[in-house]
Symmetry: C2
Subunit: 255 residues, 2 copies
């Protein structure tokens, strides 16, 4: 059996520092193929390009990894990777290292986790890595031993069907440890800044801040990230609320 | 107390036939506000616009509904609706009627359901309606009694916290009835068509077809849609796999 095939993508684009550090940290575990958006696609969730063509742009190798840019979303990258670019379905898919948090309910909007869930859907064990700093020159070095540890174990053992991991790291600190927890119930508030253009017409730009609805819950990611721990959230792609089928049926008088 | 406020959005864009039929069917239940993308945004999932400004464009009323186009995604529409456009948080949010299926695992990619989940996140009962026809001139008339029934009951009773409904209708047939079920486990295959441009360089366009991995499972949406029934899938926004926290912790030797 040859070396494992490791697919890496992200949502910050193929030029970002985070994806290069991820290659550095995992390159010894297998044959690394990077397939990432040609430009930043934050907040793209599981969006895919339906009504436009896509290009695959071959880039120079980086640190022995093959590099391909795709003119689409993170999900487009994963789909094209296993459909067209990779020699076979990868043994593991890693995403990041994202410049910015994907903790709390940010997982809904995350292009990083959109790509991870796409890989999960086709049975590939997948992990998203994010650092709580939006700086293009963020220091990722503290994350290296954690990323190596998690990647090596998932590569060896796989993950349960339909389950992926959302890993977040605190920024600018010594990481105290790592906790496997659930995502804190949260939502975004103060979401838009309003401006007037030179002609006096309004336009809007998304800002917002995340509100943790359960700040004292010590089994959540936001709780531990605040305390300088890294967090791992096992996430389920399937959103069926099977426990609500009977009550919904009764509510709608469908029986 | 005044009339209920009904927010309607979609992912096919404010000009689509489906959104106009939805207004027609529910306008007597309350004060209808339509906030929808200015152009089609299929496959946009929960994508939001992070790195660009948004415009809100006021349109002429339609059948007593106020109409606003937003230069963004379905999620942008819902966020701007409750942040800026509506007089208050709506009593219900409806999305569609989508031109095309959101059954099986299509819910992951669906801009229709992305908008529905966004409303759910802020506590608004929300329902997505989809017809299994991509035709711009699809006949929605069979869906009317079902949409009126479901909308009136959800408006009266609400939905459990964090739960929304994904409703799909078969196309071009007499609808036999309606079933509350789970989404069938499924994935997409044969996903891209490859072309050569006039200069001989390849480009790719998403096509693909959905594969039902459990065609005999009679508790699923794809099973009943195939048999000309409408389906209602209760879906959970929160993707925490709490039942996998202990095993993940053990796997990673984190205890």
């Amino acid at each position: 059996m040859g070396k494992p095939i490791i697919l890496i993508s992200n949502d910050d684009g193929i030029e970002s520092a985070g994806i290069h550090r991820l290659v550095d940290y995992v390159k010894d575990f297998g044959e690394v193929w990077v397939v990432a958006p040609d430009k930043p696609h934050s907040g793209q969730s599981s969006a895919m390009t339906v009504n436009a063509p896509l290009r695959i742009i071959s880039k120079p190798d980086y640190n022995s990894a093959r590099m391909f840019a795709v003119t689409g979303t993170p999900v487009d990258c994963v789909k094209l990777a296993y459909h067209t670019i990779l020699p076979r379905v990868p043994d593991i898919m890693l995403c990041g290292i994202n410049h910015g948090s994907n903790a709390g309910n940010s997982i809904i909007y995350s292009g990083t986790m959109g790509a991870v869930m796409e890989a999960t859907t086709v049975g590939v064990p997948a992990v998203g890595y994010s650092l709580l700093s939006h700086s293009p020159s963020a220091d990722f070095s503290e994350t290296e031993p954690f990323i190596k540890h998690i990647t090596s174990i998932v590569l060896k053992n796989g993950l349960p069907a339909g389950i992926c991991l959302n890993v977040n790291f605190p920024a600018k600190v010594k990481i105290e440890g790592i906790k496997v927890v659930r995502a804190a119930t949260s939502h975004w508030t103060e979401e838009y800044q309003e401006y007037l253009d030179p002609h006096g017409k309004p336009f809007y730009w998304l800002k917002g801040k995340i509100i943790n609805e359960e700040p004292e819950a010590s089994d959540t990611d936001l709780y531990w990230l605040d305390r300088n721990f890294a967090t791992i959230v096992p996430a389920r792609v399937n959103q069926n609320a099977i426990d609500h089928i009977d009550s919904t049926s009764a509510l709608l008088n469908m029986d």
